[in-house]
Symmetry: C5
Subunit: 263 residues, 5 copies
Amino acid sequence: MDIGTLGGLAIGFFVLIVGIVIAGGVTGLFGFISISSVFITLGGSFAAVMISNTLGRTFGMVKVLRNALRVRPMEAGRIISMIVTFSEKARREGLLALEDDLDELDDDFLRKGIQLVVDGTDPEIIRNIMETELNSMQARHEEGIKIFEDWGFLAPAFGMIGTLIGLILMLRNIEDKTAIGPGMSTALITTLYGAVLANLVLIPVANKLLYNNNQEILIREIMIEGTLSIQSGDNPRIVKEKLISFLPPEIRAQVEEETGERE
Amino acid sequence: MDIGTLGGLAIGFFVLIVGIVIAGGVTGLFGFISISSVFITLGGSFAAVMISNTLGRTFGMVKVLRNALRVRPMEAGRIISMIVTFSEKARREGLLALEDDLDELDDDFLRKGIQLVVDGTDPEIIRNIMETELNSMQARHEEGIKIFEDWGFLAPAFGMIGTLIGLILMLRNIEDKTAIGPGMSTALITTLYGAVLANLVLIPVANKLLYNNNQEILIREIMIEGTLSIQSGDNPRIVKEKLISFLPPEIRAQVEEETGERE
Amino acid sequence: MDIGTLGGLAIGFFVLIVGIVIAGGVTGLFGFISISSVFITLGGSFAAVMISNTLGRTFGMVKVLRNALRVRPMEAGRIISMIVTFSEKARREGLLALEDDLDELDDDFLRKGIQLVVDGTDPEIIRNIMETELNSMQARHEEGIKIFEDWGFLAPAFGMIGTLIGLILMLRNIEDKTAIGPGMSTALITTLYGAVLANLVLIPVANKLLYNNNQEILIREIMIEGTLSIQSGDNPRIVKEKLISFLPPEIRAQVEEETGERE
Amino acid sequence: MDIGTLGGLAIGFFVLIVGIVIAGGVTGLFGFISISSVFITLGGSFAAVMISNTLGRTFGMVKVLRNALRVRPMEAGRIISMIVTFSEKARREGLLALEDDLDELDDDFLRKGIQLVVDGTDPEIIRNIMETELNSMQARHEEGIKIFEDWGFLAPAFGMIGTLIGLILMLRNIEDKTAIGPGMSTALITTLYGAVLANLVLIPVANKLLYNNNQEILIREIMIEGTLSIQSGDNPRIVKEKLISFLPPEIRAQVEEETGERE
Amino acid sequence: MDIGTLGGLAIGFFVLIVGIVIAGGVTGLFGFISISSVFITLGGSFAAVMISNTLGRTFGMVKVLRNALRVRPMEAGRIISMIVTFSEKARREGLLALEDDLDELDDDFLRKGIQLVVDGTDPEIIRNIMETELNSMQARHEEGIKIFEDWGFLAPAFGMIGTLIGLILMLRNIEDKTAIGPGMSTALITTLYGAVLANLVLIPVANKLLYNNNQEILIREIMIEGTLSIQSGDNPRIVKEKLISFLPPEIRAQVEEETGERE
């Protein structure tokens, strides 16, 4: 999990706690702990998520989360340098010469692409295979992200369900007017739990996963374009031009530098 | 219905009941039973679903539900193995040799595709026929899913309608102030019913149907790609590469193993 | 209007009335009649629909409604049989022989297509003309459906506007505390009207129109595909395969039977 | 502004006023006038619209409104007749003969297309130029419509902001219990203003603009298709068939008549 | 930041302050200052934005804002004139002659395109490179805009969270009935902050960024089309026709004038 995500979570909960302490003192905090609200909000919405998925997918969520929140350095520059180097080697020594470099490649997707090039596979088939793999990966990631989005949608609904349960019980037995205030207070805690769970945890995490997914797709698209450029024997300068077009201008300068000595 | 779905429903209702018992005692539970709320929430929203559909479609929903919630083993691996085997046989013995295997095929869609290949149909026409069938299936499934989504949208609306009816009746005859509490309590039960029906049953079930539909489409896409690869006489190794690109990496290894002895 | 739609409307209103009678007795029903609420909810939201449209379109809505809600037997099977028969005749006796059958065709769209085939029009132009007509029809239907969707969105808004008006009037003159209850009761009736109008009538009707529209588009797509298949001289068996791919499996068997004697 | 739009606005406000008079008498009406609510609702939401746009665009809105709400007779029939006439002339006397008719054309878009045809421009380039112009026009219109949609979204938000301000001020100084009712009454007026502004004016006007835009795009698409048909020397009968496919069946008959003498 | 945006912000806050002063007097203003509400609304929603992004992106937001809100004269006319001039020069003196003008070009994107033309790169590759760069720019801008949209969605949620916290604390300790009013008043301030932050600042700014982004994409599309037209040796008159099709009619006249002397 990277610093922004961890820091954001810490700051978010800190801010809410400070807000409570300012308004209600430190003792006010204890009034916000409610086991039955956790039960209904977290338990109920998690049950609804379970219904929407197979058991395997529900608990696979933890893996999705771990993979997707890990710190991912912006490595597009390094990959473009590598592809440009391959492209130069292929023009000098032929496509077969790339076979020696396959073992050093730490990315399965790019290695598979270069392997297909070395095997002399038809370019249309290479594009087909690599794009199918990219699309399938994207579809799987989006399914994982959808779990968090669905959960973020359901959590406030279960918060409201809990508050309705509290109100129905409280209103039925109104004799003691002084009990109304505390009764409503307790009923509202469930709505608060649902709102915080959704807006401070689930929705931001879903957004984060979406952003990481977009980064990963971008890198894969560079790899597909690069692999096909190597195969078609494009001029390495053109290969570089093509690939850095995917990057923001500020990163381009840096890539130019890394690969600059060749021109 | 698979374990995740059944278990989720059980856990969801269990959690709500426990929440009620913690807050209101076991006797509190009886206060949540309301025949007229069932009438308005379930009856009213189901009537609205009936209006949106023909009678056949409304009651066909039960079949959609049964088909779509059944446990569906991830059988993509087995199908890819089968297609690769066909592809090898076709290269050794010709496309006509596949006719013998048609009877063993337990999937109508794949059998129709292979039959068209054996008949010597034009590849463009085969793709056209298979994709039309896939798109039509997808459109029909999405119509079925839309019924549950519409219902999940209408249930809370009828919950609110019931609560409005209760409030209008109650507020008109306010003389006895002690009746306000219990009156509102009763009125709110309909909102609770609508919220639980939508968020614990209908929306999660619609999500589940959507997920199962995506799985089924994926398998059909593999079948289309495989059928056309067999016909075009692709190298079986390439056929396998093409088809496993549709799968997540963890399942690929297993498919590699099953079909591995051939290389 | 087919049975599902009529029955759903009857059941929906019956359920709401029963709900009122259970909670408030038969006399309770009279309290739900409010002319000024009809005025604001129905009148106000209809005025907003008028603003969005020309007069012609607003009152054309009635025709849209009548056409679109009429019972429409699933006649795709009959049309496919007819096209397959045409395809056989065209192969035996030439495309010109179809001219004799044009008068018997009761569908303008298909007749126009076959006429263009008989005239020897270029296939690209035939596809262009038929698809333009299909797209225009779809765009017009969607405009008609949008009127009901917009109305269904605006009705609850005007319900709320009416309740706000009631509350503002009532709250201003609070002296007699016993008038608050009945005042709020009356104010809420407008919200109820808006919610029932939208959720029991307008939104379900819009959904129904959408479903009928999809059915009509499906039949037209079959006609386009069939017309072009006849012209290109496809084998009638292939024509049938192509067209039944549009249908659900359970209807396919029946079509196979009707056209089965030919094989 | 056409009759439907003007009439709808008149009816809408009339209905609301009648609703108020029925419930609160004629004197009740005065209670709904509030300068500060106009300030917050109209002023606040207009300020938010200004932030979203350049000054030029914000005040260009008035022109968008005037152009887009003007009565626009359904002139597609006349345009099709004209194009069919051009097509006949071009076949008889050659494309250059159309130059004489250019001055009579009152539509810039069609004249530009025919001019390009007369100049002997490549069909691909003509399609490219005309479609670019159509897409740019559509994008500009949609930007104009978006201003009203955004405003319609923001107006109720500022209505709620005004009500919150009113409630916060009122609740702080509660000593005199009799002031609560009138205080809430005043606070709610701002919400009412926001709801009426959005649902009776802004959202319906945005819908109307959208509908007019669709009409205009339809006519331009007919012009593009017609221009290219003239250039390609299509049979005038086919040109007519192509172009009337864009129209609803009831208008087609009328166009058939106007152009009928030629066949 | 251009005048519309600055002016709109000033007017918006002015209008709200005037509304408060009219209803509550100048002293009423002080009651709307609440540090803990700023903490929860602004701090909480910003923390949620941090979770969704990497630290770099969160603070890169400031740059996005500065770049995107700067005054941007509608310079499409100037760019079209320049491209038409290039196109004439290229026809007279050959594509290589454009090399001399490259240094004067102040736009990186257009310079890169012309450079590729001068280098004799294949047109397909030039289109590929320029469109990739355009798409990547658009994707990056949309990510930046999404930050403001997400924030605008989260701010009212945290406003509601703050109000829930205030209500829960207040209701628990109701003994003194006179404290209810001021307690609710304070609790509602957080909702007000969230609503103003979202509807007067974040959502309008996101809309503004979206509009500026559309302008920038339009200019880049003109550059791509122009570069490829120069390379293909199109007649400069046709080049101009193609490019001004992207512009609104009122700006076209002005461009015609600037480039008019050539015809």
